[in-house]
């Protein structure tokens, strides 16, 4: 694998991101908003209680969609050493990423236009697919040259 240091650095960062996303409960706090985990992620997520999972009654630091994206990123990143050995068609990962972005848009727009009501589960699932797809796209950059031949 190329760029092992970069791979490892991002892996550690994503792992920490998912841990922090779990919110204050992991650190024994009674709530996440106002806790350092909530402060760290308040700039990237609306942190609405109704749209967030909770652990032991304590809201997570990000909503279900963001948590899905972060988890998907981490899961995909962990699988990069295996994914770089898979060589199906060219650019399929970018197409897969576009499909997952479409899922997000459909899920969000359907809810906005009141065609359906999306749930925490649907937000989490579409988020995890998007995060996984991003890792998948990036995975190709870690391939050794001789694997691309």
């Amino acid at each position: 694998m190329k760029h092992l240091w970069l791979y490892t650095g991002i892996l550690v960062s994503l792992f920490l991101l998912v841990i922090v996303s779990l919110g204050g409960a992991v650190w024994g706090a009674e709530q996440t908003i106002g806790h350092w985990t909530g402060n760290l992620l308040q700039g990237v997520c609306h942190q609405m209680p109704q749209r967030s999972f909770s652990i032991n009654g304590v809201q997570m630091a990000v909503n279900t969609r963001c948590f899905g994206i972060f988890s998907g990123l981490l899961a995909g990143w962990l699988l990069i050493p295996l994914l770089i050995k898979v060589r199906p068609g060219k650019n399929w990962t970018l197409h897969f990423l576009l499909v997952t972005v479409m899922f997000q848009i459909i899920d969000f727009a359907g809810n906005l236009m009141e065609i359906w009501t999306n749930t925490n589960s649907s937000r989490f699932l579409t988020g995890i697919l998007l995060g996984f797809a991003v890792s998948l796209v990036i995975s190709e950059l870690f391939k050794q040259k001789n694997l691309e031949l």
Partner: protein, 194 residues
Amino acid sequence: MSEIESKSEDKFVFSNYWPSLVIVGAIFSLISFVVGLFFGYQQINSEPAGSFFSPFMLSSGVICLLTAFAGLVAVWHYTKEISPFLKLGQGAVLGFLTGAVITVLSVILSELWVMFFDPEYTQKILQSMIANIEAMDMPASTKEDMIDAMADSIETQQSFFRQIFWGIPVTGLLNLLTALIGVKVFAKKDEETF
């Protein structure tokens, strides 16, 4: 690009990154600042509906979505204007620094807004959000806890260095990842010797 020029790109020359960093960082921080203000004043001028879904809460999600693409755009700008060759590590640095620039500039813009144009801005946001929570249908103790937590959270946001300290790691990481996608999409492939 000649072989000599291509080889020269192997060295980390920070000045090469400046144009992409500053231009893309400035544009996205301005967008982030304007969108934040838009939702902030929407919040201030809205009637307390007692809903969890407030404009101010929505703003962070929208801003995150918009600014996450800055890493990708910075790489695009670099490959168009500086060199089409960009290594993965260089793209990662460019993405992370773009996220850092966006955080710093948008915090500076917000501070300037509060300092020169609307010193009561944060207080008005806080009052509006408290009014919204008080209109919610829930036990009084829960409301008090929510108001205390929110006041803590907004007070934290008021500190310049805290905003930067909390903002850079996550914004930087998200932009780093989109910059890596940018490297895949926009950068020309070259023999890499990391």
